[in-house]
């Protein structure tokens, strides 16, 4: 009897193990102003990830009244390990981009409401005045204390989703789960599929409506983020305005780049770098990517696509009409 029971248990365990490793679990929830989608193999950690991402949002979102970031903006000083770590990273990136990438820009971003029913751009003089009052030079970080000077305020929208991917991936790794965590357009890729193949990430076609993708990247154990001028836009008096703002004018960045997809080992870096490369332009962007050991796919307004060498084997174009070249 004992033997029969143990045999039955062995069969059951085997079935469960074989089955669970290959079964895909797909769940979603809303946080960080985005839909968060988790595709996982070998288990599901939604509740832990949801709790971590919502917890992060309550620290870094300056639009949540009692978040640590909002309190920092109100009081000008706060002691918070997460904020200090972010601002240290952000200040370095600002220095490396000559201030074209910056998170101390709430004065500018608060002038633009891309989610309004009938958005109206601020006047050029108003935006310029706001831009002059912003800048990372007014941010001090000592230990866990962040101090904002001269009334400057921070907006961490350019790296928050990537950082949320870092948190999600950390939990998935701890639990031995492989899969993909997508926070809006930022993605964390953990491990490989049960059959040993890479995960396939589509890159949105910046010229098409919807979430149509023009190319794919085969990836494992990395992070991907994209910034594009097509993401949040509005039209006012026959002019289209996008949401990536020039820190020197307070107006949308004027560039021939339409989207930048960055792949690297950190979610926060991938998110911030995608915005930074968009802001500094192609040549300076390539040099910046090298400093962070990051790779990228850059799409220009004339349908030209530049893929950095490290992604050559991983990139696959799935749509006609794009001219692809590779940068070293």
């Amino acid at each position: 009897m004992k033997k029969i029971a143990s045999s039955a248990l062995a069969v059951l365990l085997c079935v469960l193990l074989c089955g669970c490793a290959g079964i895909q679990s797909k769940t979603s929830f809303y946080a960080m102003g985005s839909m968060v989608t988790l595709t996982s193999y070998g288990g599901n950690a939604q509740s832990e990830i949801e709790s971590a991402v919502v917890g992060l949002e309550n620290v870094i979102s300056c639009r949540i009244g009692d978040s640590a970031a909002a309190k920092l903006n109100d009081s000008g000083s706060a002691e918070n390990e997460t904020l200090a770590e972010i601002m240290r990273f952000s200040k370095t990136l600002s220095e490396r981009t000559g201030g074209k990438y910056d998170t101390a820009i709430y004065g500018i971003t608060s002038l633009w409401d891309f989610d309004a029913e009938n958005p109206v751009p601020p006047s050029e003089s108003e935006a310029l005045a706001a831009a002059k009052g912003c800048g990372y030079g007014n941010v001090n970080v000592e230990g866990d204390r962040v101090t904002l000077l001269n009334g400057v305020k921070i907006d961490l929208g350019s790296l928050g989703k990537g950082l949320a991917c870092d948190k999600a991936a950390e939990i998935m790794k701890e639990k031995g789960i492989s899969g993909v965590a997508a926070v809006g357009g930022s993605i964390g890729v953990c491990g490989k599929k049960p059959d040993g193949s890479d995960f396939v990430i589509g890159i949105r076609n910046p010229f098409a409506s919807g979430s149509e993708y023009f190319a794919t990247l085969s990836l494992h154990d990395c992070f991907v983020s994209t910034s594009g001028s097509y993401e949040k836009t509005f039209e006012y008096e026959n002019v289209i305005y996008h949401h990536i703002l020039d820190t020197s004018t307070g107006y949308p960045v004027d560039t021939d780049i339409v989207s930048v997809t960055v792949v690297c080992e950190s979610g926060m870096a991938s998110d911030a770098l995608s915005t930074a490369v968009f802001c500094v332009g192609y040549e300076n962007g390539l040099s910046l990517l090298k400093q962070y050991g990051a790779e990228a796919v850059i799409v220009f307004s004339d349908n030209h696509v530049v893929v950095t060498k490290g992604l050559e084997e991983r990139f696959k174009s799935v749509s006609d009409g794009f001219e692809v070249s590779y940068a070293s």
Partner: protein, 118 residues
């Protein structure tokens, strides 16, 4: 030492596992999956909709139309109308989301990427 009965047991277990995996649903064609706040509200087999026929669903105030070629958010009370502007989605992996109403429509099916960045 493995006995004859142990070997038989292992073979049976592996065969049962293979059967289980083989029985998992796949290859039936594309679905439009409507979710509200992360929970599936409707799962529509697109090939099951007749040619020229349109099915309409309303979830948390958001109106979605589906035909055998795809699905589309056609009406929403949200201010930015980003979800409506997304237009029709038809390829596996494509998604339209109304963030304020927490309603999404995703085309699921074979060939969908594991995620889309952008």
């Amino acid at each position: 030492m493995l006995r004859k009965r142990d070997v038989l047991l292992i073979v049976c277990a592996l065969a049962l596992s293979a059967l289980l995996l083989a029985l998992l649903p796949k290859g039936e064609g594309a679905y439009a999956v409507i979710e509200y706040d992360g929970a599936v509200a409707e799962r529509i087999l697109l090939a099951g909709i007749g040619e020229g026929e349109t099915k309409t669903y309303t979830v948390n105030g958001v109106t979605i139309e589906a035909d055998r070629h795809g699905a589309e958010i056609v009406k929403s009370p949200c201010p930015s109308q980003t979800c409506v502007k997304t237009g029709k989605i038809s390829k596996p992996g494509q998604c339209a989301v109304c963030l304020p109403r927490r309603v999404s429509v995703t085309i699921s099916g074979e060939g969908a990427p594991d995620g889309i960045t952008g």
